[in-house]
């Protein structure tokens, strides 16, 4: 029998205090799509970074077609036919698609780059693999999905036979995910092998030929999507049963907490991003704002939370006008905010956990008196919140940057919900989290609603919206174009209005997702 295309044997990689990879072995056959599934911090990216020469393993070996190889740099990995597309793209934004693709391997005569040859080469590859792209477009003008396509073309141009995709769908819209899946399928029919790192179960079910599950640095199982279901994968990945649909009681809608009337907000470039939006959020209900990213959600949330000036309309909280209030006043009025970007807006990563827990309340008793912090009180509350919100950490004196993504988000929730707000504005609260953490965040948001609080949820994930929302508002190009009651709209209906109600209905792998879900519910 021929040796596998690539084989990893007993790869072990230790970081100070963490065993990131513990004797990991796996093999990849030609023309195969392998999903590397695991929670954040399970060691998936570490393993692939070892393969790509970005990290060196402490033990173990990599074999390509049976030959042991020592990969010390990405350059060597590329020469061996391994290509990797990182979660954060490595493109030069002001350069064109062609320039980006040939960068490092420019066809040149006597030091002069032959651009017509380069353009030809890009066109050839793009045609061969069915990855349509304009070779002369400037990368910074492209959508995120297109930029990813350029990254894939770059790897192919360098002769990749094995393509590693690190969380490729994290930054994509549902339509772009669908497009990516098609691209991956066409790549394997051309004989490539694809390894994709993910923590999303539906992607594994919809795309992979084979799935390798990692937990705590070890391979804990290997299976085929046809031989398992989402519940089975989740159990392997998390190590326990996972509830997909959190219990939800009927909404006890009460008084109006937030009232937004004809709100207009500008974006960074001074263009109107929110074009006259009106809605209200009441106690005991979750109002979800559904939409494709970049349709004004970010600006709307920033205006509500005092981070961006509104240029028109009004915002009132509990009947008082807060249109031009500062963030500090809005927090004091009872609004808590889980920001969409927890690294940039949610946490001070260099602060320890207790310092992060008091952010926003750091001038108030019991944390501060006459401008002096009371660290005994701070530590007490921090410990209590860390325990209440299940933040996994050795102590409250650890820097926030040392936590995993899920625990960081729990820390944000611990602060924002621990304040006991009247209104929670949660923007993409589960972005980048694994199933265990998503389950936790969802149950906390529902608990707020059941305690009679008002919740505004902004999400790009239709599944999340369907699970949590009591009312759904669809936003498109800065306007609310449709309102649904819970359970009234299918994913297709939502997708239809999210894309302006004119284009084709979204038909991403909703069928597969639903059938897998049924298995869980039963």
């Amino acid at each position: 029998m021929a040796p596998p295309l690539m084989e990893l044997r007993d790869i072990t990689k230790r970081f100070p205090g963490v065993l990131a990879n513990d004797s990991v072995s796996l093999s990849i056959e030609p023309g195969e799509i392998v999903a590397l599934l695991g929670e954040n911090g399970a060691g998936k990216s570490t393993l692939m970074n070892v393969v790509y020469g970005l990290l060196s393993a402490d033990k173990g070996e990599v074999r390509i077609e049976g030959d042991a190889v020592h990969i010390r740099s990405p350059r060597q990995a590329i020469d061996l036919g391994i290509g990797m597309v990182h979660q954060h793209f490595m493109l030069v934004p002001p350069l064109t698609v062609t320039e980006n693709i040939v960068l490092g391997n420019e066809p040149a005569h006597a030091g002069v780059i032959d651009f017509s040859q380069a353009r030809e080469a890009v066109r050839d590859i793009s045609k061969r693999y069915g990855l349509a792209v304009d070779p002369d477009a400037v990368v910074q003008d492209l959508s995120v999905g297109m930029q990813q396509r350029v990254e894939i073309l770059k790897a192919l141009y360098r002769g990749a036979r094995i393509l590693i995709l690190d969380e490729p769908t994290a930054v994509l819209t549902p339509q772009e995910v669908k497009g990516l899946f098609e691209v991956v399928r066409s790549l394997v029919t051309e004989g490539l092998s694809v390894v994709f790192i993910t923590h999303k179960l539906e992607e594994v079910m919809g795309l992979a030929d084979r799935v390798v599950v990692m937990r705590d640095g070890r391979v804990v199982g290997e299976t085929r999507p046809s031989e398992t279901d989402m519940a089975g994968l989740a159990r392997m990945m998390v190590g326990r049963e996972v509830v997909f649909r959190v219990e939800k009681k009927a909404s006890g809608r009460g008084d109006t907490i937030l009232e937004v009337d004809d709100l207009k907000v500008l974006d960074e470039r001074g263009l109107e991003a929110v074009k006259g939006v009106s809605f209200e959020v009441c106690t005991g209900e979750i109002v979800a704002l559904a939409g494709v990213g970049g349709n004004g959600q970010t600006e709307l949330v920033e205006a509500l939370t005092g981070l961006r000036e509104a240029v028109g309309g009004t915002i009132s909280l509990k009947g008082k006008d807060f249109t031009h209030a500062a963030a500090r006043e809005i927090i004091a009025a009872g609004l808590s905010h889980v920001p969409e970007d927890r690294h940039r807006r949610g946490l001070v990563l260099d602060f320890d956990l207790s310092e992060n827990v008091i952010l926003g309340d750091h001038r108030r008793a019991p944390f501060a008196r006459h401008g002096v912090l009371d660290f005994a009180a701070v530590t007490d509350v921090a410990r209590k919140r860390i325990a209440d919100y299940d933040v996994r950490t050795p102590s409250e004196r650890v820097k926030a940057s040392a936590l995993s993504g899920g625990n960081q988000q729990k820390l944000v929730l611990a602060r924002e919900l621990g304040r006991d707000p009247d209104l929670l504005v949660a923007a993409q609260p589960t972005r980048g989290l694994d199933v265990g953490a998503i389950e936790f965040v969802h149950s906390q948001i529902l608990a707020e609603r059941d305690r009679g609080k008002a919740v505004l949820l902004v999400s790009l994930e239709l599944e999340e919206i369907q699970i949590l929302a009591d009312r759904i508002l669809v936003i498109f190009e800065g306007r609310i174009v449709k309102e649904f009651a819970a359970g009234e709209a299918s994913d297709e209906d939502l997708g239809y209005y999210m894309t302006g109600g004119s284009g084709e209905k979204l038909a991403f792998d909703a069928e597969e997702v639903r059938s897998a879900d049924d298995g869980v519910d039963a």
Partner: protein, 366 residues
């Protein structure tokens, strides 16, 4: 949470050791390279360093000299460090220092005849205020229109220096040929340390040193234990998260740069009140800029600033003895200072050496 007190103590000690490792290794490497340079140039590094040590810590007078020279660096080091903690690079400490010196030289004459403790307090407060004021305009420009403080504080340094230059050659010039102000009356000066404490040997060190040390501890406390310090650090680490947490980034920026300016102003006040007793054009050989190096070496920790300033003070105090006794040019001191700054700035070099050493240690043990 399950961690025992004992483990926590050990972990904190280890963290402190890790923090100290880079500055200490940098200083050692700088001295080694300095020795190599001396060897190549035909000097005896052992003789040079023992003379250096003798000149800086060899006796009461020498220690006093080290303290004297460390004093202004402690103030400017604190100034730059506080700015850095809030994400601001106050490169203009020199200008704030000149304005502080100016206020002391003028006020000291005006207040002649009043009780000494009163004069000292008033002159210190005035110097801090004018230092803060000199930083306020760049701070306002930063907060309002985003003008970068590196440019504006630097420009204000030139303005400050030339104002002093003009005043000491014109309106405030004392009678005589030399462009300098009148000498301060005794009640407007800082006492020598041996005058206020019975047990210290006679030296040139003045009360400014004690003030600087106490202030460094106070600044450390402010940064760590007050809402003001918390907000400064939060903005320095992550202005976006601070804004989301209801902190006004522009107000915090203005406050931090003014505090920085006040600290730098005190360097000028104490130099005038404790050392020169008058003001002249060249009264600071760039203490404001050396303060940047002090802050870097201290890794912006106010307590570290005390140690870093004493080190730089010792190098400066011992340099003369080194030249005299080992016949090594004093310029070698500047080379070593420059190397220390270079190595601290290029922290990775020291980290790499530390990493290698500990790895080899592990291999030898195993």
């Amino acid at each position: 949470m399950t961690e025992s007190m004992h483990e926590m103590t050990i972990r904190r000690l280890l963290a402190i050791v890790r923090e100290l490792a880079v500055p200490i290794v940098s200083v050692v490497i700088a001295m080694v390279i300095g020795s190599i340079i001396m060897l190549i140039s035909g000097f005896d590094p052992v003789a040079a360093f023992s003379a250096l040590l003798k000149g800086s810590f060899g006796g009461g007078r020498q220690i006093g000299e080290t303290m004297l020279r460390a004093t202004p660096l402690m103030f400017t080091g604190l100034a730059v460090a506080y700015g850095f903690r809030a994400g601001l690079f106050n490169i203009g400490a020199e200008g704030q220092l000149f304005m502080g010196g100016l206020s002391a030289a003028w006020l000291g004459i005006v207040l002649a005849g009043l009780p000494r403790p009163l004069n000292i307090v008033l002159m210190i407060l005035a110097g801090a205020a004018i230092g803060a004021a000199w930083a306020f305009i760049p701070a306002l420009l930063k907060a309002r229109v985003g003008a970068h403080e590196v440019i504006t504080t630097m420009m204000f340094t030139y303005i400050g220096r030339y104002i002093v230059s003009w005043l000491v050659t014109g309106p405030l010039k004392a009678p005589g040929q030399i462009p300098q102000t009148d000498v301060l009356p005794t009640e407007s000066t800082l006492p020598k340390l041996h005058e206020v404490t019975a047990f210290l040997p006679i030296s040139r060190a003045h009360l400014g040193f004690a003030i600087a040390v106490v202030l460094a501890m106070f600044v450390w406390w402010v940064l760590k234990y007050t809402s003001l310090g918390y907000e400064s650090r939060a903005v320095g680490y992550n202005p976006w998260a601070s804004e989301t947490g209801g902190i006004s980034v522009s107000a915090t920026t203005v406050k931090a740069l003014c505090i920085s300016g006040a600290l730098a102003g005190l360097a000028g006040v104490t130099e005038v009140m404790g050392v020169h007793l008058r003001l002249f054009d060249q009264f600071s050989p760039g203490f404001g800029f050396t303060g940047i190096a002090v802050a870097l070496l201290a890794k912006n920790n106010p307590i570290g600033v005390i140690a870093a300033a004493i080190l730089f003070g010792a190098l400066s105090a011992g340099g003369g003895t080194m030249q005299l006794e080992a016949e090594v040019p004093q310029k070698v001191i500047f080379v070593i200072q420059a190397l220390i700054i270079f190595l601290v700035a290029a922290e990775q070099i020291a980290r790499w050496i530390i990493g290698r050493a500990s790895r080899e240690g592990v291999e030898h043990a195993g």
